[in-house]
Symmetry: C2
């Protein structure tokens, strides 16, 4: 049975999309069947794999999943890496936040659709927007676990307590088995004192919940979305891509032990 992992952090620009895209690609490279659902109206995960957004109209998108309840379609778009499938986002999705407010069981809509499709994939990743609104809550209610990218900078640690409170609230109210998949340190710069301090503090607080593999700051990770490819396919020598291969290995290892 596939595992649904929400990639979330309400702090902006910490590497949620970079993590969702590159981790999904690393697991696909390892032969896993992976679905990536873009739950952010900005649609950065969509443009990272489909820069011209040529496919967003031909296939059903995240807004369709939430509004129409008709399940993950059989025909899905697959970008370059084999075994990787994408449900794209459209700007229309920002309307869902308001439209869902008065809908019954509004927090469960994504869960109903994705839990019905779990057996078709090994992993389903949900890229969340930088907020704790209805789209992120839908993703947390649908997920088996939440993966938290933590940028190695001052504000990032600040916001973590708020995020973990929201995760606990969702676990109590809507999704009793929601686990923490782990915390991934992103944009780590080994020469910067601040990076080392934040990494030390995170490992001090969260211990083994922080992945061993660290994602270094790597220009190739920032450049690759412009070419519509995950970093691994853009430049196989990318240290950032190797960091994500490491995290993929740790996730697979943890599942083997489970």
């Amino acid at each position: 049975m596939g595992r649904i992992i929400a990639v979330a952090n309400q702090k902006g620009g910490v590497g949620k999309t970079a993590t969702a895209v590159n981790l999904a690609a690393a697991l696909a490279a390892a032969g896993q069947r992976v679905l990536l659902v873009d739950c952010d109206p900005q649609g950065n995960a969509t443009t990272a794999l489909d820069p011209g957004r040529a496919n967003q109209e031909k296939y059903s998108n995240t807004y369709n999943l939430l509004e129409q309840d008709n399940g993950v379609p059989e025909r899905l778009w697959s970008p370059d890496p084999p075994h990787l499938f994408l449900v794209p986002s459209t700007p229309h999705l920002s309307g869902a936040e308001v439209e869902l407010v008065n809908t019954p069981a509004r927090e469960h809509r994504l869960r109903r659709v994705l839990r019905a499709a779990v057996d078709r994939f090994d992993f389903i990743f949900l890229d969340c927007p930088p907020s704790l609104g209805l789209l992120t809550v839908n993703a947390l209610v649908a997920a088996h676990s939440v993966l938290v990218p933590l940028q190695c900078e001052y504000y990032a640690l600040e916001g973590l307590a708020g995020l973990l409170r929201t995760v606990a609230m969702v676990r109590e109210g809507f999704n009793g088995d929601l686990e923490l998949e782990g915390i991934v340190l992103t944009m780590f710069d080994s020469e910067a004192t601040l990076s080392r301090q934040v990494a030390e503090e995170a490992r001090g607080h969260f211990g083994a919940q922080v992945f061993q593999s660290v994602i270094p700051r790597d220009p190739r990770v920032a450049e690759s979305p412009g070419f519509g490819k995950p970093a691994l396919w853009y430049d196989a020598l990318s240290p950032g891509a190797w960091g994500y291969m490491g995290v993929a290995g740790e996730i697979l290892g943890a599942r083997r032990r489970a």
Copy 2:
């Protein structure tokens, strides 16, 4: 009469808070009376100036301004730099997004309060969250102009069209004289091809609307919030702080010509 400037961009982590805090501090250093209103429930501008959040309970906060309509109080907290005043944010503010949905003239609440206080300040800066929800719309309706930090990376340029559409919508529906104060290039790395490409493209599209002064990527800007000070007060030799002094000069110059 004071000028109200919203610092907005729905893309996360592009330097909105760094820009609001350091630009407000640069103008205060130039002798201007400046109010900074933290409109983001994350409260990063608040912790950047008051790391222990010691003052957030003693003074009225942004949630009070929105919910109780009783104006900008006489007694305001002032952090280290003289002439700089802060209306702090609290996590409570995230509730305002939902609470305001069914309130009459919900988009105008901040405008009513701030327009009544304009004569007490030369500038009022509004730090916005990474979304286009009610808090950001309230800030855009209250403002005379919007200042857009643009990180010199791929996704940042992508999101700009969406933001400018929202600004146009606010101008048509709620705030006819909303101008674009300008676009500030942030975290510019002169050695990175991507940085140079994004900067060239931004200047190509937006011409003189892009400030001449560019904010370089500078570790001191990222470290200074941990010490509760703007970069200029943390390290007077900070290139990032000088970049913000440059932007402050350009804003003052434009007002003299106006």
